[in-house]
């Protein structure tokens, strides 16, 4: 069996194992839906200023997408990692031709598929329920690499957390501890203006910031509408995509080394 065959086999097994855990599937899609319903519909936005969400609804689409791009890979890969370790599956796989990076790539592809579907759902909900004004056009296809690279990045981080934590409980606690600060300090739901000036440069350290900025430049009309003298939104998106790609590569490699070859 070729390398593609090995990755495909691991991918199929991972996808079936996930799709047959109904509660996992349900909450993978229910979680972002409930976030959109609470923040987008119940709380709503107040474009005239003040309140929790002072920007127009479209501003927060990257935040809603970030919820699944960030939380789902972290928890899924982290949990899968713990399950593999507790069931001596890594020990078994270490005696098969499957390589560590092939394992992580296979599980990343499963996550890209799952999170891609969840992202489509979120996109539709935000447009339909929150009345967000989205800049529609071919440039929206760039959302695909944004989601894919974001998922790859956080799958790598999930593998690192899975390696560091010694149980499924530990993985979940570690994932939440990492994900919550990232979610709110990466230009997703909290605008930079709401942060102290001295802290704003810190947001540049979050990989999620480049996801949020890039997605926003593609979808948020106030950014996407070309302005004379300003950077072209697509160029802005590609710049952020390039940074995200580099970070994704770094985290993926780190995640590969986190997959145990020995006990």
């Amino acid at each position: 069996m070729s390398r593609l065959g090995r990755i495909g086999s691991e991918c199929r097994a991972g996808a079936k194992a996930f799709l047959r855990r109904r509660t996992a599937v349900f909450f993978t899609f229910f979680f972002p839906v409930i976030i959109v319903l609470i923040f987008g519909v119940l709380v709503g936005t107040q474009p005239t200023g003040g309140g929790l969400f002072a920007e127009p609804p479209g501003y927060y689409l990257p935040g809603y997408l970030a919820v699944v791009v960030l939380f789902t890979p972290l928890s899924r890969v982290g949990s899968e990692f713990a399950r593999h370790r507790e069931g001596s599956r890594f020990e078994k796989l270490a005696t098969t031709p499957l390589r560590r990076w092939e394992w992580l790539l296979a599980h990343t592809l499963v996550n890209v598929f799952v999170i891609g579907a969840a992202s489509l759902l979120i996109f539709g909900l935000v447009v339909a329920l929150v009345d967000a004004q989205i800049a529609v056009g071919a440039h929206l296809l760039l959302l695909i690499p944004f989601v894919a690279l974001g998922v790859a990045l956080f799958c790598g981080l999930g593998a690192v957390l899975g390696r560091l934590a010694d149980s499924q409980d530990g993985v979940i606690a570690a994932s939440n501890s990492v994900a919550l600060p990232l979610l709110f300090l990466s230009e997703t739901f909290v605008t930079p203006e709401l942060l102290p000036a001295w802290f704003r440069p810190v947001t540049n350290l979050s990989p999620l910031t480049y996801f949020a900025r890039g997605v926003r430049s593609l979808t948020y009309e106030q950014v996407s509408t070309p302005v004379v003298g300003a950077t072209d939104p697509t160029t802005l998106a590609l710049t952020n995509l390039a940074v995200l790609a580099v970070l994704a590569a770094v985290f993926f490699v780190a995640g590969t080394y986190a997959v145990p070859r020995t006990d």
């Binding site: 069996m1 070729s2 065959g5 090995r6 495909g8 086999s9 691991e10 199929r12 097994a13 991972g14 079936k16 194992a17 047959r20 855990r21 507790e86 069931g87 001596s88 599956r89 020990e91 078994k92 796989l93 270490a94 005696t95 098969t96 031709p97 499957l98 070859r261 020995t262 006990d263």
Partner: protein, 312 residues
């Protein structure tokens, strides 16, 4: 005969704990090699060293290569507490692992070999404990390995399942597969292994064929007769007899001599309630060499009786 697995002064430490302490052994190709010892003796750690799934000190040769660089399609491993993805059917599970190799066996034939034809479409988590273990053994067979490491393969399996697996292992060995088997079930190793290494506190305390180890360290066979009679009539027939309250113990009696003893009892008109013949086992060897018993550690089910009791 070439050695399939060689360990030379292998040591495995977990911090201050020495799990494997300077173990050297050689497993000839095409044989079944048993690693026995109670929980914590170092069996699983040694298997990890031999398969390269842990860091270790010393030298290991697996099919002529270091374990880390051996052709992975030539080895199979069943880890001790292995639990594969639980919501795949038996067929899907074996297919999943088979597809990780360039060449693999026909999955239905492996399913048939481990006796799971009727459960092929059942999710792993819905199988009984014994069926799960058989599915795990099937997973290790999909690549038709030259060397197979089975770490306590019969744990949790019912008696029939155990015997089926024993037969399977015997067939694999007969077909030329080298099997390294760990167990704390003495009867299992005694039946299956050509050679045995006994581990205690990470060290090999004895190595050899089960028969040789028993002959050298197991002590003598005994025939215990529940009777109020005195020892003289049997002693006069050449038996070495020890008398205690309500019991005569004949030492060093092999199976062929039981009839002679019974004839002697009849000839002397001695009445008895029952007699029990006990032959030494690997457990006796272990007890003799380490001063420690396996009893209480054997979770694989009760040991096969090494004794025969007859009531009159």
């Amino acid at each position: 005969m070439d050695a399939a697995v060689v360990a030379d002064d292998v040591t495995k430490r977990y911090g201050d704990l020495v799990a494997v302490d300077g173990v050297s052994l050689s497993v000839p190709a095409g044989t079944v090699f048993g690693l026995i010892g109670p929980n914590g003796a170092g069996k699983t750690s040694l298997v990890r060293c031999l398969t390269g799934t842990t860091e270790y000190e010393g030298e290991v040769s697996l099919l002529g290569s270091a374990p880390e660089s051996v052709d992975r399609s030539r080895i199979g491993l069943l880890p001790q507490s292995f639990s594969p993805p639980e919501r795949l059917t038996v067929r899907e599970l074996l297919g999943y692992y088979a597809d990780l190799y360039d060449e693999a066996r026909d999955v239905p034939s492996v399913i048939e070999e481990v006796g799971l034809d009727d459960s092929a479409e059942t999710w792993y988590e819905e199988l009984s404990g014994g069926q799960q273990r058989r599915a795990c053994v099937g997973i290790t067979l999909v690549n038709d390995p030259d060397v197979l490491f089975l770490d306590e393969p019969t744990t949790g399996i019912d008696p029939k399942g155990r015997r089926d697996l024993w037969t399977l292992i015997e067939e694999l060995a007969a077909a030329g597969t080298t099997v390294v088997l760990t167990s704390h079930s003495m009867d299992e190793v005694e039946r299956l292994a050509d050679r045995v290494a006994m581990l205690a506190d990470g060290e090999v305390v004895a190595e050899g064929s089960p028969a040789t180890l028993i002959a050298e360290h197991g002590g003598e066979s005994r025939l215990e007769i529940r009777t109020e009679a005195v020892a003289d009539p049997l002693a006069n027939r050449g038996f070495r007899v020890e008398a205690s309250a309500g019991r005569l113990t004949l030492h060093d009696v092999d199976a062929a001599e039981i009839d002679d003893a019974v004839d002697a009892l009849a000839a002397a008109g001695i009445d008895y309630e029952s007699f029990t013949w006990t032959e030494p086992t690997l457990e006796d060897v272990y007890l003799e060499l380490t001063g420690e018993s396996f009893r209480g550690d054997d979770v694989a089910g009760p040991a096969e009786p090494a004794e025969a009791e007859v009531e009159r």
